[in-house]
Amino acid sequence: VTTLNNNNNKPADITLKIPAEAEHISQLSVALHSLCFYATGKEDFAIQFQQALVEALNNVVEHAYNNQAGHEISVCYYQEHNQIRIEIIDSGESMTTLPEPVLPDFDAESGRGWWIIHCSVDNYHYQVIEQVQHSNTNILTLIKHF
């Protein structure tokens, strides 16, 4: 945990970081599941948010960083009124557009991740911050109301 900001009973905003490797995704997603459950008291909410988060993290590891070790992913958690907002931040290869959230043919062995994200949160958007001397910063924001 790198950031805690808890005053006047305002819920804490929290940032977690992991190496961009598949074996670290569960630790982070279980932690975020717990935060979502703590905030809402709703197991369904927490599992759905975890579902979207895991797919988003899988995409960063597989596609943004092309399964290459030595990179990092940051996840920022914000509790705001009646919603949870999570930002997933990486500096890997940027997407030019978000993939269409459609299911592939039943026998396809990939392509279900964005569908799961689309169905599991209320809103999501993607931002690329271009930097001249460093890698771009990519931010995928997931929002779910409770």
Partner: protein, 113 residues
Amino acid sequence: MEINEQKHEDIDVVILGGRFVMACAQETRERLKVLISQGQGKLIIDMENVSFIDSSACAVLVSAFKDIQLKSGRLVLVTSPVVQSLIELTRLHTIFEILPSKAVALDAFKAAQ
């Protein structure tokens, strides 16, 4: 993730537990491929104790389904509520045979003999 294999006469049973996600997808895919290639085309994948599943795991299940189809075999899944929920979200319940427990799945295979 835990992976245990059992043999009930000519029926292979793979019992999975814990988190079935990308980190263990490749190993699980390979173990299922070996089991299917060496087996009699009768496979139960018991995920009653799987606490979480992602799209990578769904891909492993689809791969096993296709492999067993090539042998004209039969694959039966046993799901936990979390697994069932994702399988329904991705509409894979329309192709998979899903039964409520390992015992029911074993009975279904024996009844078909």
